[in-house]
Symmetry: C2
């Protein structure tokens, strides 16, 4: 590890394995399928690890992520994003001819468009009807509109209805843990009830902070956590993970020591990301957690520099010293890197490709 040029992304392999197994075991015990979201790691290698540990398939946000992971050997992909353009739907259909593909529908015109393209290709495309359970982003609200769309999808040749999906991302915006759990429970109970009353086989939800609570909701059949593979400072602040669960860190070097209270590292917003929260989260004050150095705060980032605030009575840092920083948001930090190093404690094991880095479209 001491030979790696910094800043560089490190993934602690034993921690990833523990995170993946913990969720796989909990889901298996409850008869729930896990379809992890690959937006966090964007890596064929880690997606294969999740599949080895029982994942039913892999979720992605973008079609180009699905294409990259399919090329790497992932054969069951859920594109959890509303595809609305002809060219993208054609790419989806092309992919569906090679691997198992499913996606979401959230409106009648979009359902008809997907169905028509699938019929033209002689395929049946698996879809979920996406439900907005409180985030207000994409998806249909519970109620008659949802039922009408479900019935339409059931009728349309070219589509096969897998069930309902939602992302309960609104939980990130609720600082109080008890309120977060209560609102999650209320929201998922109504979601599951809608799926049951419509006699649907798959009822799928997914958000890491409330993953284990969501698996206690009877009737939920699938979870799609992404961040859980790495966790990060945001999940620690939310109480969803302990620091020792955090698997992704950025190794950085102290390049300048200004005073007993201020130093500069070679990792800035272009690697750690300026992302200081998700969906209204406001629990974070700094830009990451410095491992084994609670006396150091990352108080600011410019593009290529991180600003450290040191405890003036503490041990300080010296120029050339290396620090490992758990980013605020692992999904945002990992997305900056073309490669990362799997490691075990202080030893580097091997390099892996962040296969779908830059796969936005």
């Amino acid at each position: 590890m001491s030979e790696l040029a910094t800043p560089v992304a490190l993934i602690d392999e034993p921690t990833v394995l523990r995170n993946v197994r913990r969720v796989a075991d909990a889901a298996r015990a409850r008869g729930i399928a896990v379809r992890p979201h690959a937006k966090t790691h964007k890596s064929v290698e880690l997606a294969l690890l999740q599949v080895e540990h029982g994942a039913a398939g892999i979720t992605v946000a973008k079609l180009s992520e699905a294409e990259a992971l399919a090329a790497g050997g992932i054969d069951d992909l859920f594109v959890c994003y509303p595809l609305v353009e002809r060219t993208k739907i054609e790419r989806l259909i092309a992919l569906a001819g090679r691997v198992r593909i499913s996606t979401i529908v959230e409106s009648e015109p979009q359902a008809r468009q997907l169905a028509e393209a699938a019929r033209a290709a002689g395929l049946e495309l698996e879809v979920t009807v996406d439900v907005d359970t409180g985030l207000g982003r994409v998806g249909v609200a519970l109620g008659p509109g949802l039922e009408a769309l479900v019935r339409l999808v059931e009728r349309l040749d070219g589509l096969r209805l897998r069930g309902l999906s939602t992302h309960e991302g609104f939980v990130y915006g609720i600082a109080d843990a008890a309120e977060r759990r209560a609102r999650l429970r209320e929201s998922l109970l109504a979601f599951v009830e809608a799926g049951r009353s419509l006699n649907l086989a798959t009822i799928s939800a997914g958000a890491t902070p409330t993953l284990f609570e969501s698996m206690e909701i009877a009737g939920l059949t699938e979870v799609r956590p992404g961040n859980y593979v790495f966790y990060d400072a945001m999940q620690v602040a939310l109480g969803a993970a302990a620091l020792e669960d955090c698997a992704l860190s950025v190794l950085a070097t102290v390049v300048s020591v200004r005073s007993s209270s201020r130093a500069i590292i070679d990792a800035g917003s272009k690697v750690l990301s300026a992302d200081s929260g998700v969906h209204g989260l406001s629990l974070l004050s700094g830009y990451g957690i410095v491992l084994q150095r609670p006396d150091i705060q990352v108080t600011g980032l410019s593009e290529e520099h991180g600003w450290l605030s040191l405890n003036p009575g503490g041990p300080g840092v010296r120029v050339g010293e290396r620090l490992r920083i758990i980013p605020n948001h692992a999904c945002a930090a990992m997305a900056n890197f073309d490669r990362a190093y799997l490691c075990k404690n202080e030893s580097t094991l091997r390099e892996i490709a962040i296969t779908a880095r830059g796969a936005f479209s």
Copy 2:
């Protein structure tokens, strides 16, 4: 352009040319050298354009950026970053054997380390002594410490002193334009006076928001603007650019229309960046400017989704519609892309590589 899969980065070529020429002409008229910072575009093609328009050389933040640009044909590179590790200094020396290289020193141990490595390689390494003119990031404060370091560098075999450098990035944190100009002037006058009193040939500063004001300071010999090649919503908010000066945009597609006041696009923080300011800037309320649609605000970003707020009495948007968004911070947005498309108005001209994307170390 209508055939590009979104989200995608577009660079308006006539606007880039105008931006590059305007600065080149103003600097030439004052006898000031321009050494543009490539951290903004990270592209060999745009660096060559800057050199064609009279740039004295190219500035970079990271050694790997210098390596990538040197491989692409840029033959004069200033690595404006404190290199402190043996392996990086060896890489710098290797590069200095192939193209003209300079870097910064900001401490006595670092100066000695660079000098020793240069001597061992039989080279003389050009350096500036870096000065902190108010940002508090790297560099030496004005005063006896600066003079001592300058005299040391002049004495050390292996180093050749080019002069003084600074980045007056503190101006980003000053919302009031008159105060910003006043503090810039005060700071740069003292900086130039220090360089003159030490009889130094090069006195180099660089920050886009105050670029033209800085060129009015008699005695400044070099400017190193980065952002000016593209500008962005931040520079518009600072009054440093007009909207028509902004050359980088992200083309996005509306993927979901929730209501007359809310829609979702396929560009989120992974492409537009969550960066909402630099060095304390707090002038921005949204996440970019939607071109030709002042009725639309980008009010939020999740990783792969942008949240639009629409004027309910306005024309609205339809699913599938495309929008061009000027990002808050062009340097942060461009750094997400492996490639971009040069365009002219609505026509795509050709693809260019963002050569040094991911070059962090």
